[in-house]
């Protein structure tokens, strides 16, 4: 067994751990925005680590797997941002105990109250 197989498998396991943590995050977190914090971005790192591990496992495909990782790295924050913006625009409330909502303050004409939670 080659050493790069073992290293690749370990890296993959680490990535899978982050994938798992991201999925755990969207179950545990109280509101949409926090779910996105934990969910879609821990999985991005998990994705990159997993793909790096698999590339190490099979080095002759490293470039192509790298292209996949690059696509994920560019596209995923775009979709997260679009979803967060849309959800805020559609009035999905922040959780109880949120500290501030500067966006809602700037949007409402009086500039006073935060949105109801």
């Amino acid at each position: 067994m080659a050493a790069h197989h073992l290293a690749g498998a370990l890296l993959t396991l680490l990535g899978a751990l982050f994938l798992f943590l991201g999925a755990l995050g969207i179950v545990r977190m109280p509101d949409l925005y926090n779910r996105m914090q934990a969910g879609t971005k821990a999985t991005t790192l998990g994705n990159i680590l997993t793909l790096a591990g698999l590339a190490l496992y099979h080095p002759s495909w490293a470039l192509k797997i790298g292209v996949i990782a690059l696509f994920v790295l560019v596209t995923n924050p775009l979709s997260s941002h679009a979803l967060a913006r849309a959800a805020h625009g559609a009035g999905v409330p922040l959780t109880e105990g949120s500290v501030s909502d500067a966006l809602a303050e700037d949007l409402s004409p009086e500039g006073g109250e935060a949105v109801e939670s």
Binding site: V74, L78, H81
Partner: protein, 234 residues
């Protein structure tokens, strides 16, 4: 009453299906599949046997299927015909970040689509997949940018030209090699597993890719321009 009948029918179907599962999972290929798998390379020299079947052995069916797709897009255009006023996209602008990202990614999506249908005879993929990928790229532009109008004339031209080219390749086969959409004897078959090989298969698949991409883009554009009902409560 009807519901009870429906549930009864579903139960009978479930019973039948349960008997069908062991029957359907017999190992092995059919006789036709075995023939195509054995002689596909000798006949067409395209590595991807699925592509050989779609474009060559069953090329006429594929022509029919492309026609069905064209007809359904035409049907959508006919049903959702705008009656009055200028067509406008939805007034809600997308985030500027998404806008920039769409510009950044559009070229890569187009390139991926082109890669897929150019390599249809070597790797998985082909005209249908590449066309859908290109339509997805157009969808990204439609979603992210409101200022860029899709040129319907260009799409229509592309669509009809590639359809015409498909039929023309078939006719050339009829004249040169004696049967519609023939592959052997029209172009040199080339060497196995290189890009310029498999005769007319890559040409036809590129044409199908352009046609499907143009059709699906037109479909999306027509559907997304249909105005949402005024004050629909949501």
């Amino acid at each position: 009453m009807k519901q009870v009948l429906a549930i009864l029918a579903l139960l009978v179907l479930a019973f039948l299906f349960a008997g069908l599962v062991p029957m359907a999972s017999k190992p092995g290929n059919g006789a036709v599949g075995d023939y195509y798998a054995t002689h596909g390379i000798a006949d067409n020299r395209g590595s991807n046997l699925v592509t050989s079947i779609v474009v060559n052995y069953r090329g006429l069916d594929t022509l029919g299927e492309v026609t069905v797709l064209f007809l359904s897009v035409m049907g959508v255009g006919f049903i959702l015909r705008r009656r009055e006023g200028t067509p406008k996209y939805s007034p809600v602008p997308a985030s500027p970040i998404l806008n920039t990202g769409a510009n950044l990614l559009f070229g890569s999506i187009l390139l991926l689509g082109a890669y897929i249908f150019v390599h249809g005879h070597l790797t998985p993929g082909g005209g249908f997949q590449g066309g859908s990928v290109i339509a997805s790229g157009v969808l990204l532009l439609i979603l992210a940018r409101r200022d860029r109008e899709l040129s319907h004339d260009l799409l229509a031209w592309l669509e009809s030209l590639s359809g015409f080219g498909y039929a023309l390749v078939g006719l050339v086969g009829l004249v040169v090699a004696g049967s519609f959409l023939a592959n052997k004897g029209v172009l040199p078959l080339g060497t196995w597993n290189r890009l310029f090989s498999a005769g007319v298969i890559p040409i036809i698949y590129i044409l199908i890719g352009l046609k499907v991409g143009a059709e699906l883009s037109t479909l999306l554009d027509i559907m997304i321009r249909e105005p949402a009902p005024e004050g629909g409560g949501h």
